[in-house]
Symmetry: C2
Subunit: 799 residues, 2 copies
Amino acid sequence: MANITKKVSWSSRADETGILGEGTPLLNGSEQLTHSRQPSEGRSVFQIGRLSTVDLEEEITSDEDSQRGRPNEIPHNEKLLSLKFESLDYDNIENQLFLEEERRMSHMNFQCLEISRWVVCGLIGFLTGLIACFIDIAVEELAGIKYQVVKKNIENFTEVGGLSISLLLWAVLNSAIVMMGAIIVAFFEPIAAGSGIPQIKCYLNGVKIPRVVRLKTLVVKVCGVICSVVGGLAVGKEGPMIHSGAVVAAGVSQGRSTSLKRDFKIFEYFRRDTEKRDFVSAGAAAGVSAAFGAPVGGVLFALEEGASFWNQMLTWRIFFASMISTFTLNIFLSVYNKNPGDLSNPGLINFGRFQIDGVAYNFYEIPLFIAMGAIGGLLGALFNILNYWLTIFRIRYVHRPCLQVMEAMLVAAVTATVSFTMIYFSNDCQPLGPEDKKEYPLQLFCADGEYNSMATAFFNTPERSVHSLFHNQPGTYNPLTLGLFTLTYFFLACWTYGLAVSAGVFIPSLLIGAAWGRLCGILLAAITTPAPLWADPGKYALIGAAAQLGGIVRMTLSLTVIMVEATGNVTYGLPIMLVLMTSKIVGDYFVEGLYDIHIKLQSIPFLHWEAPATSHWLTAREVMSSPVTCLNRIEKVGTIVDTLSNTSTNHNGFPVVVQVSGSDEPEKLCGLILRSQLIVLLKHKVFVELARSRLTHRKLQLKDFRDAYPRFPPIQSIHVSQDERECMMDLTEFMNATPYTVPQETSLPRVFKLFRALGLRHLVVVDDENRVVGLVTRKDLARYHIGKHGLEELQLAQT
Amino acid sequence: MANITKKVSWSSRADETGILGEGTPLLNGSEQLTHSRQPSEGRSVFQIGRLSTVDLEEEITSDEDSQRGRPNEIPHNEKLLSLKFESLDYDNIENQLFLEEERRMSHMNFQCLEISRWVVCGLIGFLTGLIACFIDIAVEELAGIKYQVVKKNIENFTEVGGLSISLLLWAVLNSAIVMMGAIIVAFFEPIAAGSGIPQIKCYLNGVKIPRVVRLKTLVVKVCGVICSVVGGLAVGKEGPMIHSGAVVAAGVSQGRSTSLKRDFKIFEYFRRDTEKRDFVSAGAAAGVSAAFGAPVGGVLFALEEGASFWNQMLTWRIFFASMISTFTLNIFLSVYNKNPGDLSNPGLINFGRFQIDGVAYNFYEIPLFIAMGAIGGLLGALFNILNYWLTIFRIRYVHRPCLQVMEAMLVAAVTATVSFTMIYFSNDCQPLGPEDKKEYPLQLFCADGEYNSMATAFFNTPERSVHSLFHNQPGTYNPLTLGLFTLTYFFLACWTYGLAVSAGVFIPSLLIGAAWGRLCGILLAAITTPAPLWADPGKYALIGAAAQLGGIVRMTLSLTVIMVEATGNVTYGLPIMLVLMTSKIVGDYFVEGLYDIHIKLQSIPFLHWEAPATSHWLTAREVMSSPVTCLNRIEKVGTIVDTLSNTSTNHNGFPVVVQVSGSDEPEKLCGLILRSQLIVLLKHKVFVELARSRLTHRKLQLKDFRDAYPRFPPIQSIHVSQDERECMMDLTEFMNATPYTVPQETSLPRVFKLFRALGLRHLVVVDDENRVVGLVTRKDLARYHIGKHGLEELQLAQT
């Protein structure tokens, strides 16, 4: 246990402390342990020292820091691992209360529970579909008004000159709309910024991200995304759907809203992390399903990102939620489109039908697809690196809400200006066919009966632009238009992602990819003149879109299925898979996926699927935190309060030990209890002495824990008098009597597998006498990763 | 530990012993334990008694039984759990050798391993696709010849009379072909009978089914399925593809064939159960993919049936294998069909394209679909019950290979006769349109330019019949034809499944369902005259097919996706899901799915996803086997040989314990070692004394274990001299030093979750002093299930 050397930094400025932390003296665990092995009479808790990752000399700083409240500048560094993120408890707390309840339940009760799970999933799907529908209609209507106004203005001024006024109008309109979206995000709920996919990934991974599944977040997210899209930013409304679905799921499954202070007294059984996570998976899947009309893709997304333990019934329920979601959206949109019963709008984005007869691919095209995948990987990596630098810049200099709003407005204005300039200087006129149902064809300087081709790409919602790139007839776009569009949109999208607005990166990626993919198709057709049938530009646009999206987000199976479902055609499965695979391999060579970059920049302790391959030389002894604060099975209240109040450690799980009375044998592990449980016990004053005196005192039930879930009060809010401090508390009934344990010699991959497969939060390390020697938590495992120079260890930071 | 009461039966006749076993005296574990806690001087192994599940009084029977070899009559009873099935080790044996090897490997080595995994998956996909292609072409060609011969004969005799000769020809031809198929299956490889899906399910679940992934099985399977389909039985060739893919995977991934005695010295790292299982999953997925052109469905099938621990990279590789498989099949079939490059034949069965414009479903049709799902569930349950009785009958009376061959021939002859009779007495003549490309239109007694409608259903391979039921124009079949066809085919298919031939049940189920589904569509159209557009009989045929298949096999998500992919149209996702859900719920009310019935009838210890809901009152103490045979860390060879030779216990895992020398403290658990490891150690004579005397003796390496995998020799084949028996063996280096353990009080669901999530084979139960008190294995967990009267416990049988 002695050989632990953990580098610790402790300040609100990561950049400086990263260097500082390395210079500070390291804590030697064994000394502390020896010291604490002498139980003091006054305190029966075995506070075997302090959290090994905390440097003692900096204790004062830490207390100051915690009193200062939320620091203005949040340190972000991908070489640090934040200690401020808590884990979720995906392991059931099997204490006596729980077991008694389970044993009381009959088979019929369990079946009722199962039915209510289905009902909840149906509700989740329905509500998620409704939200998607609301977003879609709102965007359609508002964007329609905006584009009509601008179009009329442009048409007026095309004749008489003075188009700069139109530009001004467009830019001001965009900025104003985006401003609204940015204000609600930056000032009211910063967690609603971005697509929300990284946050949901982390939640499903088991990291508790504060406020991520609250009602307020949902409202801000929905309004924010409408503003962003209507404001003409290079964003999509699909990513936020996934977050929205997750929030809906978390809300519905708990049968109450803490924000609205309403408790419907239903689904109380589901008020714990294990059940809630399952529903949030279903919500995320429903979100994907509504966004792309891809129910199977949604299920796979939820599984790929979330579930480590695959369960048949759970998956089936997730699929049900997905199906209901896409179906609801479809029904309502069909009514909105005045074509009720037509079920051809399963998602927010529809790639449209690729007619199989003309454009099935050929064997010899596969190398071309793979080459395009490599291009996608390269461009994706470039996108990610640029966005990474930009994010670092933003973290350092653009962290005030008002600055964030101004940056968003700037981007909106620039986007409008660039678009206008591109349209203005483009001389790509195309005849306006009778079958072209373009919503806002801009004639500009084109002849009558013609329209400006650049405008179809820029003067439109991104979803429509993708659709036209996929399906417009060959010859609709000239190569220069496409090249310029790719270039400008690439930088715009890169700048936009990470702004303080709700917005997704899926559609911009697809759009960039579709543009250069179509370009590839046109060039191929030009090279192999006479233009053969196989070089259909729409097909290459699809492949390019897949390559670009894969290069940026690096999702695998789920993305393939989403793309296939969105095209509604399984024939393209193989090429899309090959392309996504290539782009992932090429992109991973340079930099991680966009979501992973953002997760790392927030120093979130994210657990990957497996331990790093070369980590077999590490054992539980090396990775565990030690010494551990243990509690006795019958413990003094004062000790518990002191332990919980200790802001410098802030532990969340405490092994419970027992010593055979009178014997001098070492104390054995007999259970594990959580901070949240102790808080509830203290709040209800479950003390041995009180139980004796007040025989009528209501026994504490599981319901009391559920009512307090998930917002357990802080220890400071619980008043314990001096007399009560002398009371004793019996933890036997409430602790988890059979926590999972591993011996000290267990290798890291084995510990990791156990931890990950069972979704643990605390794993007790014991010696061969069953004595507690350490505790493995998420941050202990997330610290190790494969870097450029083999296995690397991240530093821990308190912020 | 004292309260263990396990009912044991021990005989080769399950029906009798089921009753007998209950009356036999029960073993009291605690007495045995007390007795064994006094370590005898002569034997340092703590054979703490005997396997608790074995009744001592019946010991002699058991020895006799094991000497008799394979009994002729295999007892089958779904109320028993067989002890003869071993488990697979999905938990890595992390002993010192393994850890040393892993630590020696650089990051580059791991990447090479990863690449070889991809190569193997690609090969699996390619070979599976080739096999599918071979089966398809062979069936096409041979069936073509057969039908042409019979057709010519019928046409000859239609004019002159004497059609009974045609009937005789048809019946004899069928019987002869089926006989060949039945002979190779019944005499050479009985495990190749049936679809193989139950066997693969069990393998992926972790049960070692003997000979299931051998090359010989593959050859028999492929030849057998060709004979069955060509022989005109009511079978499909899709199920066996899944088994074939699994065998291919097991073979390719090991880089050698024990049957062919060839070792290519590649992929040696993959020679253990953990890796092999992953590849077998990929093989099964590739099989599904080739069978139905459903790569995503294949992945989901593999996950639904196999993987308890979901891993992103693994899933991605499985998907790759699936894609390659369907692509290979597609390419080769396009060449065979003289249309190279046309990629519209992704699977063995193709449902054909449902044109979306005409036949999209409407909102108000959904209740109809659900009603059809209920019918499917009912009919499926009926099918399963009939097949269950039939299987029981077969187990009792038709267990000799020659009888089995004769039964198969009988079924073939009856199928031909019934088909002929149906065609003969049918007067449903339809005009032969120019677009109808029926392969073998029978005119029979119809007017010129017309053909017999019943013959399209009966006088054809089942795949073609399904296709015609889905896609023929409304009016092609009259209701009576369809009704009669459904009825006869239902009973024929039910009789056929379980014969000693390689054959799947997917296509017959689809065919039955398509027939009554089309009937529903026709009736609906008749009721709602004037026949509206929505009551398209083809659509209802599809729904009926899904309902019937779901009612029989009860698969969930994977089946939905397979159906959607086979139709090539995601629009039908929701109705298919609803139908499958309904049919599963309705069917489950009566009886289990067909595969589960067959697994239960073979008394296989199959672990479901979760422990029974009402099993919280059971703890590890009650479910574990105890007392346990433990070994010392440094153990006498004679003791080990005796332990392994003990046929009455036949244990496979032994906890290793250590006692601090000189102290009187109880011995602690320090590791776990497997029978297979001990066998290799004995074979290489890794004795302490020999190592001292022969310093040059080569150190045993992991390679020696891998070379012996998976067919470890029996202990009887290893000669240990009397001198060697006195030697000592040091197990430290070879045992798994950190086995997973649970305390005695752990509840069954918790034990189950750990066991299932990590794919364990042995889980050591310890007390709070870290002493071994019991061992939980697969059979201990599989015993409990929810029956009609709540939680039930299966009896254990030695056969």
